[in-house]
């Protein structure tokens, strides 16, 4: 009788717990390596990790180990069922929330640096590599090179305009390229500097984009790439690997890069201020903001793991995965 009573109590409480759980976002991070990564050596776990926003320093691993995960994208409408990892081995894909995984690319596609899933249909996926961009429209069964107008450039990131998914942007070694026909053709934008390492788009204004470069700092465009302006106010560094908008308030932005720590802007990227209190590793490669709570910000570092702020970057604390090179991160509202 007693066990039954306990069970009944649990059943009564469960919906409440489930509701609490449902309110939490999920943080996904792709880990390329740790300092000790050597092909062929007994490497520590790399790949895709995730946690709920309440999980402190605890992270779960999903997918294969040891895959040098450069990027991750989640098909948000599927609530995490469809996930793609960009890795040295190709594109790893799950359609059942990580129960099973498959490398959908073949031998020709290697060193995949980013992956982007079309928000309209999870069957359409783009990936970027040091040899250009590839696209599948059948969920990964077949992949085709999509470099018309661009050539086989080193493409760090491919970005989908989620308001108009036929429009894409690529951050390349030769600047930024834009496609308005689902990657069938590409045109170089007006950015006159190369070594573009990161690219981000305003959550609602399709023509507003920012890029971070390896040697020339941050540039912004408000006309879809036709003209770019250098953002200099408050910036003391030149190499920026990541830039994000706060989805809850797009006037707020964060940027990070080589020994920069985290820079924050509260005026839509016009001026910047460093916010590094508690951030013990200043090589920042990825930043993400919780779409359900703009004060909750994550910073992924190179070989220092993840740091977390609950006050919009004012202070930071270590959040796990120490020693890891956290290349990409995203926070999903489920």
């Amino acid at each position: 009788m007693k066990p039954f009573a306990c069970s009944a109590l649990l059943l009564m409480l469960l919906p409440g717990f489930a509701l609490l759980e449902a309110r939490q976002s999920t943080v996904y991070v792709s880990v390329v390596s740790t300092k000790l990564f050597v092909v062929g050596a007994p490497n520590p776990q790399t790949g895709l990790f995730y946690q709920k926003t309440s999980d402190d320093t605890l992270w779960q691993h999903t997918g294969r180990n040891n895959i040098r995960a450069f990027g991750v994208d989640i098909h948000t409408p599927s609530r995490g069922d469809v996930l793609c990892i960009a890795s040295g081995n190709g594109v790893h894909q799950t359609t059942n929330g990580g129960k099973t995984w498959k490398i959908t690319t073949g031998w020709r596609i290697t060193e995949v640096l980013s992956v982007a899933i079309d928000p309209r249909t999870a069957n359409t996926i783009y990936c970027s590599t040091p040899y250009g961009v590839y696209k599948t429209t059948d969920g990964g069964t077949t992949w085709n090179e999509r470099t018309n107008g661009m050539g086989t450039l080193f493409v760090q990131t491919v970005l989908i305009d989620r308001n108009n998914p036929e429009t894409l942007y690529c951050a390349t070694e030769q600047g930024v390229y834009r496609s308005d026909d689902g990657a069938a053709t590409w045109k170089k934008t007006g950015l006159h500097v190369g070594g573009v390492r990161s690219l981000t788009k305003h959550p609602t204004k399709s023509n507003v984009l920012f890029v971070g470069t390896d040697d020339f700092g941050i540039y912004a465009t408000s006309n879809g790439g036709a003209y770019w302006d250098k953002m200099a106010a408050g910036l003391d560094h030149v190499a920026f690997y990541t830039m994000v908008f706060d989805p809850t308030n797009p006037e707020i932005m964060y940027a990070g890069g080589y020994i920069t720590g985290v820079y924050k802007s509260v005026d839509g990227g016009q001026s910047w201020r460093r916010m590094n209190d508690g951030l013990t590793n200043l090589n920042v490669h990825s930043i993400a903001v919780d779409p359900t709570n703009g004060n909750r910000v994550y910073a992924g570092t190179m070989f220092g793991g993840v740091f977390k702020s609950e006050n919009g970057g004012t202070t930071w604390r270590y959040a796990g995965l120490g020693g890891s090179q956290v290349w990409t991160m995203t926070v999903q509202p489920f």
């Binding site: 390329v32 000790l36 050597v38 092909v39 050596a41 180990n65 450069f70 081995n89 490398i103 070694e173």
Partner: protein, 606 residues
């Protein structure tokens, strides 16, 4: 009793690796089998637990139940990526008809649960796809859920097959990217020999056999007394200055009977395979009765940024005698980290049978050309595994500030180094066991190594430093030498700090020039004229053979007044190997023999 004693002595000679003689096929095969037997026995009787020991037990039908138990044990914590894949499938295929069903199931399960990384270089991909192909053939018709990568047996087999044929195509049209590597020769030879031995698909089996011949022929034409003759795309320390420590030399012992006897694990699977070299290849490797020039064209490993071309050509020139070989790449960044641009190697004075020079260069730019990670942190990434990379004393390096010009046995190296470059000096390696290392008043450094004489004319002031050596007797987790430095004195480093720099190297043998004194006298008459200014570095030199060489950094080369056009270099050209760019065909010739590998038709003709 006497005959037994004689046989015993013969056995010792056969496996000891003394200088090999040209012998008839039957004798060669008999001696080869003795070397195979030596290896098999060494691994079969070893107390160690590893895939090579397991493979030897299965092959020799020796203690199969123990082999099963060892196999299960060895698979408990898989690691090593493609360096795990090939010994596992190699051992499995040796024992597939002998092991217990339970052991088979454990091996099968390992290919489901352990996910090897595919890697990022040509040798990784060769091992990965050769192993995956063989595994997919062994376990056909399985769904993706039974494989580590989610692909079905058919998908894995077809992907691997396609890669292997494409690798053969690019290799036989514009050359290997990770070419002529004394330390990565093994990775290619093992992959291709396993395919030749075990592939069920007759085309892949034939491809494996032909690719085995291709890589061995490439080595044979530049082989001397167990050594690969440089330059090289990749070589480790200490093999760069102790040439017989490279894995290619282990293969030379097994297949050519040269170098030093070894129980290197790298040759165990090939030894077990039953693969036999065609006669013409070891004849090419061993016949040094005539001096010859051998040229090659290879390709740079995939350039992913900071370059206009994905796979620019590499030109290699090698001059080979029975006593020495001098070989060079044209210079520049052709491979990251471990390039060996030029070297003299000779038959005297093991283990230090070489003299060479280099500019020890490192930069994020160099690494960024080939690796996709962030340029500003790449040096730290690389140093984590290759600790000598940013060491100004390192002995392997590519440099954008280095170029060479070789004609026969004369080589000129020039350097025009930007200020602030890492590092702002050049180095030369002179081994401690030279019989002579004299600095002549004319400026020539004149060295005697047995019957090989080397003259080195520095174009700028320099200093001598006693050399510290990296030990070879400890290995890291992937079987490579540890990089901690210990003091082992006696070798000499020539160091010159001038940014505009260079040297002329002349090499002759006793057969070519007579006495060492005569060589020294000839050098005295041959003093280079030089210009050493930033942006204007050049040499005019008349070799002791009377050839007029003009070399202006970076790429202006003239021989007796005529421009030397490296772009006309074929894939292979010399007395033994012949291949046109784009041909997918290699012709081997030796005396009246001819053997043609045609990769378009996948046929071999004699």
């Amino acid at each position: 009793m006497k005959s037994l004693l004689v046989f015993g002595c013969l056995m010792i000679l056969c496996v000891s690796g003394a200088s090999a003689q040209m012998v008839d096929r039957a004798t060669y095969l008999k001696e080869f089998q003795q070397r195979v037997k030596y290896l098999e026995t060494a691994y079969d009787t070893s107390q160690a637990v590893g895939f090579y020991q397991i493979a030897a037990h299965y092959k020799l039908n020796s203690n199969i139940r123990q082999a099963d138990s060892m196999f299960v044990q060895a698979l408990k914590v898989p690691r090593g990526d493609m360096f795990w894949m090939f010994p596992v499938i190699g051992a499995y295929l040796q024992g597939v008809d002998k092991m217990s069903p339970e052991t088979k199931a454990v091996v099968r399960n390992a290919w489901k649960t352990y996910a090897p990384y595919r890697g990022d270089t040509e040798n990784h991909w060769a091992m990965y796809y050769a192993s995956l192909f063989l595994a997919a053939e062994q376990w056909p018709n399985l769904p993706g859920s039974e494989w580590y990568n989610g692909k079905s047996s058919d998908e894995n087999r077809e992907e691997a097959r396609e890669y292997l044929f494409d690798w053969a195509r690019i290799t036989t049209t514009i050359g290997q990217g990770e070419f002529d590597s004394p330390d990565y020769f093994a990775e290619y030879a093992i992959s291709t020999i396993l395919l030749a031995q075990f592939a069920q698909d007759p085309q892949v089996k034939q491809l494996g056999s032909m690719l085995s011949e291709y890589v061995f022929a490439d080595f044979a034409a530049e082989h001397l007394d167990g050594q690969y003759l440089g330059g090289f795309s990749r070589i480790y320390q200490p093999a760069v200055y102790k040439p017989l420590q490279s894995t290619a030399s282990a293969f030379a012992w097994l297949y050519f009977g040269t170098g030093e006897r070894t129980t290197s694990g790298w040759i165990l699977l090939p030894a077990l395979s039953g693969y036999e070299l065609p006669e013409i290849i070891y004849q090419i490797a061993l016949d040094r009765s005539k001096t010859y020039i051998h040229k090659e064209r290879k390709r740079v490993r995939n350039v992913i940024r900071y370059g206009d071309e994905k796979n620019p050509p590499v030109y290699k020139y090698t001059y080979v005698t029975k006593d020495y070989g001098i070989g060079s790449l044209m210079g520049g960044i052709l491979q990251p980290i471990q390039q060996h641009t030029w070297g003299v190697r000779y038959t005297y004075g093991r283990p230090y049978t070489t003299i060479f020079g280099l500019h020890p260069y490192w930069s994020g730019l160099e690494l960024g050309m080939f690796f996709p990670e962030e340029v500003k942190t790449l040096i730290a990434d690389v140093v984590a595994s290759k600790g000598t990379y940013n060491n100004p004393d390192k002995w392997t390096s590519a440099s954008p500030f280095e170029r060479t010009f070789q004609h026969k046995n004369t080589l000129i190296a020039l350097y025009d180094i930007d200020p602030g470059t890492t590092a702002e000096h050049i180095n030369g390696f002179f081994p401690r066991n030279l019989e002579e290392r004299i600095v002549d008043p004319t400026g020539w450094i004149v060295c005697k190594a047995g019957d090989t004489y080397v003259g080195w004319y520095p174009l700028q002031e320099y200093e001598w430093k006693e050399e510290l050596e990296t030990p070879a007797n400890s290995l890291n987790d992937i079987g490579r030498p540890q990089l901690e430095r210990v003091r082992e004195t006696g070798n000499w480093r020539l160091r010159s700090h001038k940014l505009q720099n260079g040297y002329v190297v002349e090499v002759r043998s006793k057969d070519e020039i007579g006495s060492f004194e005569r060589f020294r006298a000839a050098l005295k008459k041959s003093v280079p004229k030089r210009t050493m200014k930033p942006g204007d570095v050049s040499v005019d030199y008349t070799s002791i053979g009377g050839e007029k060489m003009h070399f202006r950094f970076p790429d202006e080369r003239k021989l007796n007044g005529k421009v030397v056009d490296l772009s006309r270099t074929k894939l292979f050209e010399g007395p033994f190997l012949h291949a046109e760019v784009g041909s997918q065909k290699l012709t081997m010739t030796y005396k009246n023999k001819k053997r043609v590998l045609d990769f378009k038709t996948l046929t071999v003709k004699e």
